[in-house]
Point group: C2
Chain length 224, copies 2
């Protein structure tokens, strides 16, 4: 197992260096990058669509979509009005800094203010691979259940903001918001959260305000 | 990357050999093993609870729970009346045959008819690591969305049965069952499916009948 661990450490180290490169590329182009992570089906693509609809008139938005297969998500982002690049990872369970670097090279960054990266649907592996974006955002969803912070601590620990999507389903699901929030607070004290519904648009304004703010403040900062 | 690929191939080859060992251990003990895989929050633990309640009087059931952290799931399985072993994988995003081998060693298999393995919540990585169980089962859930077979083909291709959980939420969610089923059929023709709700128990009987049947038929068979 030692050999395996050494190789994994080398991969993570190389990823970190390439993430720093990506961050420089974004900063030079004055582009702010968000890394959106979540379980499959938590609503990453829907949130991106709503964000493009809400901010697309003020910010030039590009989307990089990571998926095992298909271009369903990039097609949806493009239909919503963004520049969109699809990365198919083959079997890989997360995006890494190499893949984002390739996507950045394929984009005309001089035409972009905000880059939204939609990571592969997975609550575990993406947490280990920083991409060089400025902020990491986790999207939880009500039907996933209230125990997820306890069971996937690595993901909850490392993010800068938490969206709690599908609040419209709260009446139909046993979800103890206090229990959920206690779990989050223990792992990531003071984490900013956005309970919202992409379906009804309830709570969407606070999220859009935060993204706007980040897009203006984070320019030129180093990645987290 | 070549070095990395070689190491990955070695790991997968070693896993396959150990899975064969696990399968022999199960067969020698006349225990039938199921490997349950799903996204975080699709309802693996709830389905296990309902299965224990439904079949626990006829079959002696043991549960091996894989999670990044906590013993929440094993505690629930134990409370429902099963022998339960929790495996905390640390950061690993899937169970492997080594981990299951350790769990088998910790169980008195002479007191078990059916072993249910609850894999780590992840739609990608567990598909690459057979454990030596007799049947693999995927649990999809309505709120995950109808595009998941298209986006996570590896997982849908490799399983022997598909549970479609949380059908009670169908009235509140845009989920095109025909589109979903077409995706499944293209990847895994004729796959047996069980639409059900762990909450209302609708559809549960067909699932329990299938598990009973597998538990009596699969004894002594090689793993898939």
């Amino acid at each position: 197992m030692t050999q395996r661990i050494t190789v994994v450490e080398k991969i993570l180290g190389a990823n970190e260096r390439l993430a720093t490169e990506n961050n420089k590329i974004l900063n030079n182009a004055k582009v702010v990058g968000l890394n959106l992570m979540a379980s499959p089906g938590a609503g990453k693509t829907s949130l991106i669509e709503k964000t493009i609809h809400g901010l697309g008139s003020r910010l030039r938005i590009a989307v990089v979509d990571g998926d095992i297969a298909t271009s369903i998500d990039a097609d949806r982002a493009a239909a919503a009005g963004a520049l969109a690049v699809q990365i198919n990872t083959g079997g890989e369970c997360h995006l890494d800094a190499v893949m984002l670097g390739q996507a950045l090279a394929a984009l005309d960054l001089s035409a972009v203010d905000l880059l939204i990266v939609e990571n592969v649907g997975n609550l575990i592996c993406p947490a280990y691979f920083p991409l060089g974006t400025h902020k990491s955002v986790l999207i939880a969803s009500i039907p996933e259940g209230d125990d997820k912070p306890y069971k996937y601590p690595g993901m909850y620990q490392g993010v800068d903001a938490l969206v709690i999507n599908k609040t419209d389903l709260l009446p139909y699901i046993d979800f103890d918001m206090d229990y959920f929030r206690r779990g989050v607070e223990a792992l990531n004290p003071g984490l900013i959260t956005f309970p919202l519904s992409c379906k009804t648009a309830e709570g969407m304004d606070s999220w859009l305000d935060w993204v706007s703010e980040v897009a203006s403040e984070a320019k030129g900062s180093t990645f987290e």
